[in-house]
Point group: C2
Amino acid sequence: MKMVIMAGGQGTRFWPLSRKSSPKQFLKVLGEKSLFQMTVQRLGEIGGMENVYVVCSADYADLVLSQAPGLGDEQVIVEPAPRNTAPCIGLAASYLAARFPDELMGVFPSDHLIQDEKEFGRVLASASNLARSGYLVTFGIRPEFPATGYGYLEQGEEIPGKDGVMAFKVVRFTEKPDLETAERFRASGRYCWNSGMFVWSLAAILNAIREHMPDLDDIIQRLGDCRGISGKGRELFEKAAPVSIDYGVMEKSEDVVVIPCDLQWSDVGDWNAVAEILARRGSATGSGTVVEVDSRNCFVHSDSGKTVALAGVENLIIVETGDSIMICSRSRSQDVGKIVEILKRQSPELI
Amino acid sequence: MKMVIMAGGQGTRFWPLSRKSSPKQFLKVLGEKSLFQMTVQRLGEIGGMENVYVVCSADYADLVLSQAPGLGDEQVIVEPAPRNTAPCIGLAASYLAARFPDELMGVFPSDHLIQDEKEFGRVLASASNLARSGYLVTFGIRPEFPATGYGYLEQGEEIPGKDGVMAFKVVRFTEKPDLETAERFRASGRYCWNSGMFVWSLAAILNAIREHMPDLDDIIQRLGDCRGISGKGRELFEKAAPVSIDYGVMEKSEDVVVIPCDLQWSDVGDWNAVAEILARRGSATGSGTVVEVDSRNCFVHSDSGKTVALAGVENLIIVETGDSIMICSRSRSQDVGKIVEILKRQSPELI
């Protein structure tokens, strides 16, 4: 299987640490390795480093190669422009099909955490079996709480497998439901979060794109083997509709299956997620020192080695870098995006 | 009148901005001038810069002269060691008496704020009149709330004045009362906060020291005109008991009077006091920029020009310097002292 890591994201939720030049997936918020590096290592150990590929914009290609020195140049596929996941996956599938027409393809976000790597390996093997039968396989995460920020997959008829891993036909995709719906989904036991990880054969995904996104198929055909950083490829690629693979292909295909799994997964969506993942390690990460007086449940990431002293405060997230300090309530770490919106106007040099 | 500013304090309440090398009185927490500079300016405008003197340790002499370039070397009296206010005042009185034996002496803290300077001038003139009659004059602040952190002066018999300013014999000094007592004091209308400002004749204070603190008198006599930074003067001065002028002299003298006054005074005791004084100017001082999302009643002092972004927080004080960040609840800014105690052991280089 060729395993493709999508590393083109430009999220702002980890400001002030995340910047346009170094978005979330390349940050070392959880320890000594970035989420991208953990993803490369996880896949490399399971499927061999020579089968790991990365899709990203030209801006991040150097960062990718410096954080993953085990990858060769030909393992980095440059997206000519950010056009959401369907064009990105189409481009990567086309690139791989030209070289390995009979292979399977796995697609993985670069910025998620999977703590149960053994289970992940087991599920990936099972997904490969299903993909060889022509299915488009998704990885479903059993909901731990009624999340309203994720997409949900509804399980239908069970697909018989031979390795003890259960899989189901996907009846429906639902984007970010309201709380009531999310609670109903969770209670029913028939819904999973859509993890954004996929396994399929190159033939199956390219056929599905041809069937459900003929315009994208046309663009990919005309691009040929272009890796897309030159002017002409870029112009062509920019014409692709910026839609997700879920919307463009998966919701329309009859061949989608889901494997519900418990991977100790997290999309590490904001600073509070980091704080929760690291809760056992104490209140601080980064290079700084924390001094606390009568303070509770605070999380500090100090990027420039400062001492951070707290007195009589609780439930705060504090992140500092060379030029900025962000302080938010733990329940409001989603609002970092609003800070970034303000700064885009006021101080774009900080973004 | 010779006006002496006591600038030897080493308070830690303004950490991380205050350090051993630059304590509270020299910090520009309220704007472009330090509290010391505001004090020098206030007194210079009322009584002439040539009559302003500063007592401080050798460590701060350069800082004093750089912040108050209008002062000559001979206007800086160096304390050989910090021994509380009685030795400090005795030293300064002796230094001045050798030059101007018939003068009045005013004593003023270097780190308090007086916003009603006109009233201050009026009270100072009245105090001079009383001091010429031999009284030891204190300035009392009418209590605005039942403070438990200040000393109180109890007013007795009224002293007739000729300029419409009321003065009273002081019946008793009470150090930091409990809340119940402070409430009773305030309700009675007969108590004032002790502002630590005094006016008296040099003869009167030196006589009072001779009477009530004969050991200190002996030390001062033997020191002669020494300004005390050399080894011998230091050894001698260090023998002085480290007591306040209130405890050593004022509580024991029969000649103490208080002028109750409304000076829009503040001892600027902690960061929260700064926040309250500056409330009208918005949430930030220093050189940084503040970006707020759904945040209330926070105060930011950024010393190194950083952007400080807040989301979903309230009632915080945030102070940052090149090496440290301090975040406390507004109601807990007294606890900065506890932070400093911890750092003295853990990271003395930050103090």
